[in-house]
């Protein structure tokens, strides 16, 4: 099994966890602030497991080394998760789309033949089940909310929909058949969007290049510069 598949799972969790942590102290309500921070911590915890396993399979020295001492072109996360937070609508729509894919991917990985992979998937799935429930409820509440919240959620969906297709591209490095996840994803997402009175764009155009590392968006490098500055400035820093 290729360590790249593990790194893809780990990098998705790492980059989205870091993005969500940018809300800490800034979310529109105290309760949302704590919830986003909790989800960010769940994702960073999953990162330690995926990148930790990747390290033992020869991808690097440790999870920390992989997280903090790789450059943007070595990251294998989806383009969706590196997109900036912008407003709360974009953040929650990004979360909803990722959670919906993440749930299906982890469900499939629970049956993976590699017992370490299936163990990480089973532990993560419990957390992600809650993430998906929460982001779904928020998307429905804001989509079917005021004129302003509906407009913002539809705008967020239009902005992020071109990043959905990459989640279902597949190559030999992936841990499971990603193309097979599209049907259950569509069933779940379109039902929720319907309840939210939101309309998915008709175009299937998909930005690609995140999970292969070929072409990350310009946002990733800026985010990593912030995230990696301390361990790179003080290589042996400890708490």
């Amino acid at each position: 099994m290729s360590a790249t598949g593990l790194i893809r799972m780990g990098d998705n969790a790492l980059v989205l966890g870091q993005r969500l942590s940018e809300w800490c102290g800034h979310a529109p309500a105290l309760e949302e602030d704590i919830a986003l921070a909790n989800i960010a911590l769940d994702l960073i915890g999953q990162t330690q497991l995926w990148l930790g396993l990747a390290a033992t399979r020869g991808a690097g020295d440790s999870a920390d080394a992989l997280a903090f001492h790789r450059d943007a072109w070595d990251f294998r996360n989806l383009l969706l998760v590196e997109q900036p937070n912008r407003d709360f609508a974009v953040t929650m729509m990004r979360q909803f789309l990722f959670d919906s894919w993440h749930f299906e991917a982890l469900t499939a990985l629970c049956d993976h033949s590699d017992t370490e992979v299936s163990a990480i998937a089973q532990k993560s799935l419990k957390e992600v089940t809650y993430h998906r429930e929460r982001s779904t409820d928020t998307v429905i509440a804001l989509g079917d909310g005021t004129d302003e919240s509906h407009m913002r959620m539809q705008g967020a969906l239009d902005r992020l929909w071109p990043y959905v297709g990459e989640m279902f591209t597949h190559d030999d490095d992936d841990l499971t058949d990603m193309t097979a996840l599209r049907v259950p994803f569509d069933t779940y997402v379109l039902t929720a969007l319907d309840a939210a009175t939101l309309t998915a764009p008709a175009s299937d155009f998909a930005h690609q290049g995140g999970k292969t590392g070929a072409r990350h968006s310009e946002h990733l490098g800026h985010m990593l510069a912030v995230m990696q500055s301390l361990p790179r400035s003080y290589p042996d820093a400890t708490w």
Binding site: L30, E31, I34, D137
Partner: protein
Amino acid sequence: MSNEWPLFEVFIRGQHGLSHRHVGSLHATDAAHAIQNARDVYTRRKEGVSIWVVPAAQITASSPDDKGALYDPADDKVYRHPSFFDIPDEAGAM
């Protein structure tokens, strides 16, 4: 702020066998949202096995001004306290 979400009071049961205890309050759009928020605000360190939320507006509270009339008459009725009995250890927490 005038468009603040409604306030909910949160009760958490810490372990099986103990009653729900009031742990604090939070804002949420409805009861289901309040349960989600309570999970994030009050049970992130595995404090609970069960959550209740109650709209704060639904709670009727006694007035501090009535303190004398409500509680003082009980002061001199020491015989109302079961303090003259030895409680067997087997009875557990009372």
